[in-house]
Amino acid sequence: MLTGIRTRDLRKVYTSAPPVAAGTGGFSFGAPKPKAKGKQPKPEIVALDGISLDIAPGEIFCLLGPNGAGKSTTVGVLTTRVRPTSGQAFIGEYDVWQSQVTVKRLIGVVAQRPNLDFSLTAREILTFHGAYFGLSSHESAKRAEALLERFKLTDRADQMVRGFSGGMMQRLSIARAMMHDPQVLFLDEPSAGLDPQTRLLLWEIVREYNHGGKTILLTTHNMEEADALCKRLAIIDHGRVIALGTPLELKASVPGGYLLRLRLGVHSPDLLQRLQGLAGVREVRATDGNGADLYADRGGPLVAEVANLAAAAGVELCDVHISEPSLENLFLHHTGRSLRE
């Protein structure tokens, strides 16, 4: 059975501070209400402002956005942990809030912060998780062994997790979410705090899991991760979807897309003017020193023409750096802010 994810106009307004699991601050605040005499108005924090998504069965879908954009709250609503103020959420054909128990059988969740059961060893965390989902003790033990091996945790399997490093806890959280072989896997910032090697291992495991036809929703503010893993992605900010499509489509939607950063021997306004006239160049901006940023719809092929123009103007071209169309450019284009801000 293949299972997708759907949301319809999800809104979530907190009237008290959102819990740690639902996000890390940075929400947009609603307009302050006029003060009633003797009664303090409750501050309204709009975490989701009409999120509608259609994620196909078997898809790796990514929610990309800065901290506090509403990614974790969306995951919270889809995983029965956050009750939406309005709107609907479905896992497959099941309404998350009307068929909670059925939905919980279909999903595996890795929270943003490791939430392991500190009273147990790594192996016990997996086997008890299996037992909660009705696996026999034999089956649980077998799956736990395989997952511990896959996530390179076998040598620490029988130790209490309290002493584990952040990366080990994260790996174990992911292994636990896979224990009952869920149809839909939610990964909330799965690679935060992982070293590059473990991140690659995680990506490999996610792809492998997806090949079995499983749907994966992951949130990240790492563009490289979104680019490497996702078939489609939604960029969200202030609780709204601001762009949706495949990484390629989205990157292509930025005017120009390519960025050529030039370093020149001397500052030459005349040369910059001529560069503006080249075919495919959308914008030229002078940068600090003797540089120039050239936004264009092609990258490499422009270099020769730029070099020719520079030579004709008698200006030395010291360095050229080509940036391919990126999600960072896209986020900047839509919000005027960097994802890292």
């Binding site: 907190y14 959102p18 819990p19 740690v20 699991a21 639902a22 919270g76 995983t79 029965t80 942990r81 956050v82 009750r83 909670q100 128990v101 059925t102 919980k104 059988r105 999903i107 969740v109 929270a111 912060r113 490791p114 939430n115 392991l116 059961d117 500190f118 009273s119 147990l120 016990e124 965390i125 008890f128 998780h129 037992a131 909660y132 989902f133 009705g134 636990r176």
Partner: protein, 256 residues
């Protein structure tokens, strides 16, 4: 209802309790048994207390142990697991209605409380003997009262555990648990408060009064005690109230 998940969670709690058994043993019994030794043995032996105090004290000590164990077994893990680390999340995401997880905590706490109650009887008896005059004319009634006391401890633990912050644990013991024990007719019978009529009525809001008086009435009925019907009604009322409050807060903490 998914009983498999429910039993698996009970098994998890039993496993953790077994792992912490020695620590739990000291935590539950050391203080009450020292009290038994000083007041039941030293004070009685040196003539400051009448010999009958030994029999009067034992049900009260049993009530303290049971209530302390149940509250500790339910409230402390809940306070810790709902905090920053959200350790409880894996069980909230298990395929079972979340209220049943709270019920599971209550069942686990009740069982631990009963175990503590039945372990403290022989221990206290050994420390106090000779001169303990236990007399259980109605074992079934005693069992009903013991189960109601254990349930009270666990539902109390649920209500406290879901309404307290980790930083307030000290306050919980000094402002709630300690006054409850001292004004809970544990070291003296309710009738001993006759000379303090206002206090005697006021302590009736303390569920521990019904617990200690109930155990006294079923274990040493030769001493004055509250009518057992009042005990059963009182305990059922407080258990229902604490369970309803606890479930409500549990739900509030689980889903934002």
């Amino acid at each position: 209802m998914n009983w498999k998940a429910f039993y698996a969670m009970l098994a998890r709690d039993a496993h953790v309790a077994r792992r912490n058994f020695v620590a739990l043993l000291f935590q539950t019994f050391l203080q009450p048994l020292m009290f038994v030794f000083i007041f039941g043995r030293v004070m009685v032996g040196s003539g400051y207390m009448p010999p009958s105090y030994k029999s009067l004290l034992l049900p009260g000590i049993m009530a303290i142990c049971m209530v302390g164990t149940g509250i500790w077994a339910v409230a402390m893990p809940l306070i810790a697991e709902f905090q920053f680390t959200r350790e409880i999340e894996d069980r909230l995401l298990a395929p079972m209605e979340i209220s049943w997880l709270a019920v599971e905590k209550v069942v686990a706490g009740t069982l631990q409380s009963l175990a503590a109650g039945f372990m403290v009887i022989p221990a206290a008896w050994l420390l106090l003997r000779p001169g303990v005059d236990l007399n259980v004319p109605h074992p079934l009634l005693f069992a009903v009262v013991a189960v109601l006391v254990a349930l009270f401890s666990a539902t109390g633990g649920l209500a406290l555990g879901c309404s307290m912050q980790q930083t307030h644990i000290g306050l919980m013991f000094s402002l709630i648990v300690a006054p409850m024990i001292f004004f809970g007719c544990t070291y003296y019978p309710w009738s001993a408060l006759e000379k303090f009529p206002i206090l005697q009525r006021a302590v009736l809001v303390n569920p521990l009064v019904y617990a200690s008086e109930g155990l006294r009435g079923t274990m040493v009925p030769q001493f004055p005690h509250l009518p057992l019907l009042a005990v059963v009604v009182g305990l059922v009322f407080f258990n229902a109230l604490l369970l309803a409050t606890g479930l409500r807060s549990f739900h509030g903490k689980s889903v934002s």
